[in-house]
Point group: C2
Chain length 322, copies 2
């Protein structure tokens, strides 16, 4: 007799969908939701669209991340990309590709958290796909759609010399959290607020989503979300805009000082400069910074990213690098 | 010294994107394309959205399917879903999740074919994601967006007793092609036109995409694309609409007679009834059928799917079934 948790192999696709759909609430902008060939979503003349996948063993390990953690990161990655265009996230499509031996509870927990986060942000879960996969494979892919509300999208290419480089949110927390987990210090998280904060940021990042459309309204000249590190993402703005991003280490001190307590001084700066998966928003502004943003440096004539005037090689996460 | 084809592990994400992007042509409706955090796509007040993933070892095997074949099937699956809502496909987001040992050429071939198919259909490749995966894993996920052009979406739930059940496209070809491949008769395809047609339909299905919006304009009361078999997909309309789908075996003869030459008589009917991945469009009409559609039966008061009056258990593809 089979014991242990139910696996996906033991339920039909229809049964699994019946368990999952209740977590995806109704939504005004969702004209037709899950259950038909495609969803129909109300838009305002254009739609912002992005997609991000997460793969077990690469983007998470089960020892550290629950299904709820994975849902949180998948949600945040995608809505942060929409927000970084200056748009309000409106809907998600969610794909689960799973070894049939995956516990049903994993899929249910994933859907439950994703549905809750979506509902809290007034985002519709509009559809998705389920597919089985070879032994050991577990992957989620999310597509997020967003509405610019009549605003022009904020691109990476609009930064101009003289603009202020600014961030909304933290720097380096996710990388520090990952370092703690790798040192097996994640378990200390419960007895140490700052460590707990870093580990939580790595496992369950939250992006300042509302700051994206607000920054667009306040005239941000370029914007992106920090997914691959300040240097690498800063270099993306530098290249797209044909400018230099000049960072000032004094302005990074609010982050490096905090992280020095967690991972030491040298590592703290590296976390701030090269740490990925932070999902704070990086933008440039010609005028005053909106509430919630703080300066990191200036946009200058030139190319690349500098720290206190020294060129910095773009480094950070690259998906296929050995 | 390393020899053999370049693998993804040997190129940076940026290098790979630089090789892939040229295959994705510019498009009028694509306001902002690949290269920023998210794409911006022109819409007409609402957007149709769907997503479908394909996994090596489940949805294809490399022995049978080239990267171009996989791109064709991924494209067709998604645009057929959009068309089945009565919408015109406008844009795609494409995710590749790949073992770093995957040959770069596979990704390039995939992108080349997807880009060509998109361009031929005036569909924009608006963005996507690249992610590495554990050894052996290769997966593609496509999200398709579409425009209803002011029409109401055609759902599964609108069929009414008295409507004609009709199909646009073939039935059973993909399943017959799969059967030939499984019998190792695929190699015969080159010397036999009909076998070649079936194998090609399985490996590189083409959907009657333009017939979807046209059917919506002609008053289709319900519609879907045949992805999981006539019985299973017919049952979806029956359930959603609260009706019976009554099929007439005489009306299936154009397909069963042809397929009998390929797989024999008994198997031919099973291919037509239960064969998946055909991506023809199944719809119901209250009035005359539009050009390109042919009747399969009637919508009746009742439930489920019948063949010549006999109830048929819904059978066909279920993704997690052992």
């Amino acid at each position: 007799m089979v014991t242990g948790p139910r696996t996906l192999a033991q339920v039909s696709e229809g049964d699994l969908l019946a368990e999952i759909f209740p977590y995806f609430a109704a939504h005004d902008g969702l004209l037709i939701g899950p259950g038909d060939d495609a969803a129909v979503i109300a838009t305002g003349g254009s739609v912002v669209a992005t997609t991000d996948a997460m793969v077990r063993g690469r983007d998470w390990v089960d020892e550290w991340s629950t299904a709820a953690d994975v849902a949180t990161k998948a949600f945040t990655q995608n809505v942060a990309d929409v927000a970084a265009m200056g748009a309000v996230p409106t809907s998600l499509l969610v794909t689960l590709v799973a070894d049939p031996q995956t516990p049903v509870q994993w899929a249910v927990d994933f859907a439950c958290t994703l549905g809750r986060l979506a509902q809290e942000s007034s985002v519709a879960v509009a559809g998705g796909d389920l597919s089985s996969a070879p032994t050991g494979t577990l992957m989620v892919s999310v597509t997020a759609l967003g509405d610019l509300g009549g605003r022009r999208p904020v691109l990476r290419s609009g930064a101009a010399p003289g603009d202020t480089v600014a961030v909304c949110g933290t720097l380096g927390r996710s990388a520090a959290g990952l370092a703690l987990l790798q040192q097996d210090l994640g378990a200390l998280a419960e007895v140490d607020g700052l460590r707990a904060e870093c580990v939580a940021h790595h496992l369950r990042p939250v992006a300042p989503v509302e700051a994206g459309p607000a920054a667009a309204g306040a005239g941000a000249t370029s914007m992106l979300d920090l997914s691959d590190g300040l240097l690498r993402d800063g270099d993306r703005i530098a290249r797209a805009s044909g400018v230099r991003i000049a960072l000032d280490s004094e302005l990074l001190r609010p982050d490096t000082d905090v992280l020095a307590q967690v991972v030491g001084g040298a590592e703290a700066l590296e976390c701030v400069l090269a740490g990925g998966e932070e999902h704070s928003l990086l933008a440039t502004f010609a005028g005053a910074l909106p509430d919630g943003w703080r300066p990191l440096g200036r946009v200058e004539v030139g190319e690349g990213v500098t720290l206190d005037g020294s060129p910095q090689a773009p480094r950070g996460w690259d998906h296929f690098a050995g």
